[in-house]
């Protein structure tokens, strides 16, 4: 039961749900949630391959960096969201059509 395939399927489900969240939601924060899911799906794949296919820990390193990048992305993304909300009073993604304030 615990095999590479099961991890890959879990990761696939995570990815697809993340994608669907990104597409279905019009709220920027919700889209960021979807991105987090997608990043996690990728990280899980790396670790699973690291255990089942390769015998080194490079997959771990990669998923660590994914976590780091996700954290940075979340911080900057949410800062932008808050700034956007200050200006537009909304976080509807289709309102974000201007590159300047």
């Amino acid at each position: 039961m615990m095999s590479l395939a099961s991890y890959l399927i879990i990761s696939m489900v995570l990815f697809v749900v993340g994608l669907m969240v990104m597409i279905a939601r019009k709220n920027i924060v919700a889209i960021l949630l979807g991105i987090e899911l997608i990043l996690n799906a990728a990280a899980l794949n790396f670790v699973a391959y690291s255990r089942y296919v390769t015998s080194n820990l490079d997959g771990h390193i990669f998923s660590l960096f994914i976590i780091v990048v996700a954290a940075a992305e979340a911080a900057v993304g949410l800062a932008i969201v808050i700034r956007f909300f200050q200006i537009k009073e909304t976080i509807h993604v289709d309102e974000a059509t201007q590159l300047r304030n």
Partner: protein, 178 residues
């Protein structure tokens, strides 16, 4: 047995919470379910013997990202947020409508089909090792890898984090009203 119990419970937690993230109409609940997903992911990492990654996952996501998300939801909920606390439902358009959901489901189906095509061949062809139930500690090895083989990426990520810290602070700082 213990391991399998952990795996099954983590997988169920992950998948259930993931689906809940998608279907719930309340953004706050979405965030909390995301938390559940991430904790479940940590459990999955643990079953893969990635103890350090698992704990890092908990540390970063639970202590940082999810709380940030919650803050963002609160701060962008609207001026009269308190009076319509969970009526993020009151903003149905921003949480998606039938059209967007059907689009999402369509894309999801396409992606799953695609992925199944990929996975079916990959799982067949990828040689997998037989692995025992031993879980050597990865902390020391990861430390060596980080400061030897991957030191450049490590340093760059530290610069990235610094940049994100400063950038986020500058972007989100309150402007003078004039």
């Amino acid at each position: 047995m213990f391991l399998q119990f952990l795996f099954i419970s983590s997988a169920i937690l992950t998948l259930a919470c993931t689906v809940a993230v998608l279907v719930t109409k309340n953004l706050m609940h979405s965030c909390v379910f995301l938390l559940g997903t991430l904790v479940g992911m940590a459990g999955l990492y643990a079953t893969l013997g990635a103890d350090f990654v698992a704990v890092t996952q908990i540390m970063v996501y639970m202590g940082g990202v999810v709380i940030l998300m919650l803050f963002a939801v609160m701060l962008t909920g609207g001026k009269d947020f308190v009076s319509r606390a969970q009526n993020l439902l009151g903003l149905p358009a921003s949480m998606g409508n039938k059209w967007t959901y059907s689009m999402g489901i369509f894309v999801g189906v396409v992606f799953i089909l695609t992925n199944v095509k990929l996975l079916s061949s990959i799982i067949k062809t990828t040689p997998t090792k037989t692995i025992g139930n031993d879980f050597p500690s990865t902390v020391t090895q990861l430390g060596h890898l980080l400061v030897k083989d991957h030191v450049l990426a490590f340093e760059i990520s530290s610069v990235l984090l610094l940049g994100a810290l400063v950038g986020a602070a500058i972007i989100a700082r309150p402007r003078k009203q004039n």
